[in-house]
Structure formats: C-alpha cells, structure tokens
C-alpha cells in the first residue's frame, strides 16, 4: 500500500515569516525515518499505512503546540493506492517519461 501525503502546516499568529517553526516540523519528519521530499509549498511523505501518515500529522501539530502557537493552519492532500508502492519517485518519473523529459 502506498499513502502519499502532501501537507503544509504553519502558525498564523507569528507574522510574515514562519520558516523557524516550519523547520522544527521538518526536523521531526526527518527524524521519524519516513520517506519525504521538501517542496516550496510543503512536504510530501510516503508511508505504507494511513495510520503512520496521520501519526506524523499529529506529531507535526505537537511541535507547533510546543512552540506556543495559538492558531495553526494546515492544508493536506492524500493519494492512497492499496496495490502500489514506492510512488515518491515513481509518479514524477512516469510523467517525465510520457512527456519525454529527463531533466526537469
């Protein structure tokens, strides 16, 4: 089973720049050992079960709660396919193959 999560989670009570708070969330994800990829708009994580994915979302909030954030916003997308795995690299490669692009 492949569960892909794309998510951004950030405080909205901290002003224009939130990279310090976001960095602590990313550190937690890195330390969790999950497969992940940073993007300019969020973090993409692949796990084998939805339980694992949702546990990381919970831990991400706990990081921000510990920072004292009084309002937290998060936007998330899930793409779940029971019969697949290793899509973190595979999905982009499949599109690049179709459009004849080896570099982007």
């Amino acid at each position: 089973m492949s569960v892909l999560l794309e998510f951004a989670m950030f405080p909205t009570d901290r002003g224009e720049s939130v990279s310090q708070e976001v960095s602590k969330v990313i550190e937690m994800i890195r330390e969790s050992g999950a497969s992940y990829q940073l993007t300019p708009m969020g973090t993409i994580i692949e796990t084998d079960t939805l339980e694992q994915t949702l546990a990381l979302v919970q831990q991400a909030y706990q990081v921000l709660e510990k920072e004292g954030c009084q309002r937290v916003y998060s936007s998330l997308k899930l793409d779940i396919r029971p019969g697949k795995d290793n899509r973190l690299a595979g999905k982009v490669a499949s599109i690049q193959d179709k459009i004849g692009d080896v570099n982007s």
Copy 2:
C-alpha cells in the same frame, strides 16, 4: 480547544458520480456523534482534539476501503485554535455580523 476540519474524500476509480461512496462516509460521520456540516464541496467537522479529528479521517478511509476502492483521493484543511470552542456556528456568524448580513 477547537479543531475544525474541512475535508473531501472520494474514490477516483469509480467514474463520474461518487455520491454512493461519499454517502457511506457521511453516514459514518453522523453516527460518530461529532459536530459536522455538509457543504457542496465536502464536510466540516469540529472536535475538541486533533486525535479525534484524525481518527475520523482514518475511519472515512476504512469505509471506502471496505467498498473495494482501489484509489482514494482526499483534500483536507485544518484550522486549530487551542483557546477557542464552538466555531462551527461562530465563524460564519462573526463574518455575517461584520458584513451586515443576517440571512445568507
């Protein structure tokens, strides 16, 4: 604490109409006893903890898994405020009050 979740979750392997599968997810939410509101683009749920919210997301997927769905997509938004409650009705009322609208 008030955790607002807006989410849509649906199979993408079932063709143009998915209202049958979506109805089963809504029934599960209704039976859970959580405060919720149906909208034309998803369901909004308010709970007191993020754990409760994420447990409902897990159960929503289990409903679709039981239906045999081979690909499930979900888009979710969270708005979490530790020091608030009862925002399911309150947020819209606050905006309507500001724009002088009692009916929309």
Copy 3:
C-alpha cells in the same frame, strides 16, 4: 456548465484573527452577484464558467492587496462538470437524500 469553487484566502502577516480582512473579501463576493455560500472554513461559489471563477479569485486578492497585506495564503478546490448546473444546493440535497436526512 457548473464550476464549484471552495476557497479560503487570508493574510498571514496580520496575527491570530483575520476576520476583518476576510470580511472585505466576502463583501466583494456578495456584491459580485455570484451564487455563494459561507462556511466555517471558506466560501463556496458556483459560476457557469471557469473564467468567472478565476476572475473572482483575482478580485479577492486585490481586496487584500489594497489592505496592504504582505503575505497572502489561499487554498482552493474546484469541481467542474460541463453538463450540470445548480449544484450549490443540489449536491448536499443528493447526499442527504441518500442517507435519509432532511435536517442536517
């Protein structure tokens, strides 16, 4: 054609409460004459073409730009069906009918 848009757009440089800025966006939508519905997590708009929808998104940003916002975040969902119309009321009624619920 029915284009449903669910969207939230708000400044992230204004602190915990943004209901004042959001109210001005809602006022603009109300004055546009488009069919819309406020929810605790955003606004749902139905138009006949995607052009109309995207023009409203552009105008929503202009409202916040005029307020001097230095960082604006928006999360949007589109559900587009060429052969349908009047889904702002119809989608919820269809689900309620399936789950035997006339009041929620």
Copy 4:
C-alpha cells in the same frame, strides 16, 4: 512579486490511472515557459503576477476539456508575497539551511 501555485488537476471520470491526461497538462505548462517543478502530488509554478498564474489554471482546464473529460477536480494552494522573488528554489534552501541538511 512572487506567486507560488501548487496544484493538481485531474479528471475523475477516467478510472484509476490518469497519467495520460495529466501529462498533457504538464506539457502545456512546460511549453508556457513558466518556472515549474513537478512533484509526486502536483506541479508547483512560480510567476510574477497572479494573472499569469490564473491564466495557466484556465489553460490546464482547457487541455482536459479538449480530452473530453466530463468531471474535473482540482486542488490548489497559493502563497503570494508582493516583495519577494525567486522562491521556487529559495524556500526549500532556506529550510534545509535551518535544519542543517544539504542533500535531501
């Protein structure tokens, strides 16, 4: 001005795999000359104005309309900062710098 858009747009009337339709959307984006990055969950585009961004969203739908898609779903996120530019590379580098990561 930097407008970052993260978006996924896909037909829901075509069954489990939609990589053929999605590839045509990506080809259009590549040919537009906009700065973009493919991810396993969507495409991230950076433009100098919101008008340019929304024009690409419109064109993406036109690609799927031409393919005869009868239902199209899209999820989008915008991060708009008037006083910034070149964030497609910069945002990830800033986070990696903070967490002491040069490779991920």
